[in-house]
Symmetry: C2
Subunit: 349 residues, 2 copies
């Protein structure tokens, strides 16, 4: 289906277009450029991380929350997974500019501070931090019963570029480059407002497995975000690597953030994992909306010059990403295409 | 009153003790120290900012929200002030370790993205960024109607130490040091759950001035946080400066975060500004709770060796803090005392 048959996500209460307009108004009003003695921001509009040059180092900064996935955690009474997600959603954006994580701060907003729940979140957080090799540098816990239902989990991550490494922005992507994809671990932590709506409409029992699965669907959906930062770190010093993309909210369209003057043709997209097809089967939702909302099985993309492929594959295997597959190539043009699903996206937004 | 006659804040729904226990459980479970190749965190437990050494630079990181002050913004239909607060609450914590702000990322959680409101927040944010000379490096705007009422404003700030400056931790504070205080601009953005409860119980009309005031009390209470980062930056390279403290949530007890082996005696605390006395008059709330919850008129403290005072005063005046006053001194002992109000606090927590 080339045209969307429904816009379920907007109907779920997430109007991405209205948010973009409001955000533009905020950014325009807030615009300010400090004197160079206060750090030199590097303009990279619409990219995965903010960059700033401080003294002799370049830093990358990302900030993200696990969104409404916490409501599924609440329903299942399981908090380790979203604790781990809190690391993944942030360090994977650092990975997309080739930065190595150096620290994370968390912000927990909650109606009450339940010890058991906080301990579970801490366990997941610790697991994520170990996977990303990242320190917890601080945090804020606000008891704001009048502001939040339950709990909100947000964080900010800071990364750096070791030994003269330069940020990988995608500007060097050119027609002929290959695109590799690293499989995701499921839905990660994006689009849960929509997923939860579909679950409700399908009257899904979260405690039972979906057909052909072996664990409760609530548990399967909670699976924490795969952490790609070690993989990116292992590749980022190779000159044949031209771009990384974290395929989180926005799905395959995230590739367009790398370079507006190249077309990303995903003509070898692997079979979509069953959990995605099953969620899609719950409601009237098009392939187009699925691919622009969810990762559809590939969580991280690597754009690489063909000559470097063999060495890259060795490094991928050593970094625990022997499961990476070729998913497409860069071509003349612009935007992102998924020919097998007859999808064309003009850009990211 | 030496003993609290009430614990209004806990009754307002903010149980600080329970939060501390839950937070400890989270931090214990999350504990992880990365290899030195991934940045070297500097242990400074309980301090205002997290510190990490990356390559040849030391960075400071703080994260904070404006809390339930947004609910007063909502009631008054004014958003610029809390937008500006979002910078202040974060860069003032950077100032407390002597770091110069280099960038901020914001996180806005909201039920809907209203353009006019976002523009107002942006204007305030811009004003704060200019005052702090700080760039906006990025942000996250999450439409999470099921998680938040209205809007939550949070941010993370990153600071650095220019030209070989070292973090100012307070470890060098010694008996005999003087304590200067920089006046606050009002309640800043702390304790608003309690303030709003007192306003409700006193049936206060937010659109009318309190006695002897000339603006609506809602507007007076919204006054944005004074930004102290330029002041701290102007002093931080002076060897006679031994410590800085941002007197936000926790009030005067924040001084105890600097050095556990010194007593901070605030025997020259200035007259408490009328807005604080008036809020206190609304409910049965002790001096003790007021001084451990609010800034009580002094938002930033500077601990300094007496020999350096004259030069420091010149620098303060140039940095726009000619209104700084001497508020006390460091002595043998521990904790924080405010003799005029007969208050003794053993420590920060």
């Amino acid at each position: 289906m080339a045209k969307p048959t429904s816009r379920m996500y907007a109907e779920s209460g997430v109007d991405v277009g209205a948010r973009a307009v409001a955000l533009e108004a905020l950014l325009t009003a807030a615009r300010y450029r400090p004197p160079p003695s206060h750090g030199r921001p590097i303009d990279l509009p619409g990219h995965f991380a903010g960059l700033v040059r401080i003294g002799r180092e370049t830093l990358a900064v990302t900030t993200d929350t696990v969104g409404t996935k916490v409501l599924l955690a609440e329903a299942m009474g399981r908090w380790e997974e979203v604790g781990e997600d809190l690391v993944g959603v942030n360090v994977n954006d650092l990975a997309a500019v080739g930065a190595r994580p150096a620290g994370l701060v968390d912000t927990i907003l909650c109606a009450e501070s339940d010890v058991a729940r906080f301990r579970s979140i801490g366990r997941g957080l610790g697991r994520g931090l170990r996977a990303a090799r990242c320190a917890l540098l601080g945090g804020e816990t606000a008891l704001v019963r009048e502001l939040v239902h339950g709990i909100d989990l947000g964080a900010t991550a800071i990364g750096f570029f070791p030994r003269g490494r330069r940020p990988i922005t995608g500007r060097r992507v050119r027609p002929g480059d290959l695109i590799l994809g690293v499989p995701s671990s499921g839905f990660h932590a994006n689009g849960f407002t929509l997923i939860r709506r579909l679950l409700r409409e399908g009257s899904v029992d979260l405690d039972r497995p979906r057909p052909e699965a072996h664990m409760p669907v609530g548990v399967e959906l909670l699976r924490p975000t795969r952490i790609y930062s070690g993989i990116a770190d292992a590749l980022a010093d190779r000159p044949e690597v031209h771009g990384f993309a974290h395929l989180s909210g926005g799905g395959v369209r995230n590739l367009a953030r790398l370079n507006p003057s190249v077309a990303f043709t995903l003509d070898r997209w692997p079979e979509v994992p069953p959990i995605f097809s099953w969620v899609q089967s719950l409601g009237p939702i098009s392939d187009r909306e699925m691919f622009e909302t969810f990762n559809m099985g590939i969580g991280f993309a690597i754009v690489v010059a063909p000559r470097g492929l063999a060495e890259l594959r060795r490094r991928l295997a050593r970094a625990g990403a022997g499961d990476a597959v070729e998913i497409g190539r860069a071509e003349q043009g612009r935007g992102v295409r998924v020919p097998a699903h007859d999808l064309t996206y003009e850009g990211y937004a």
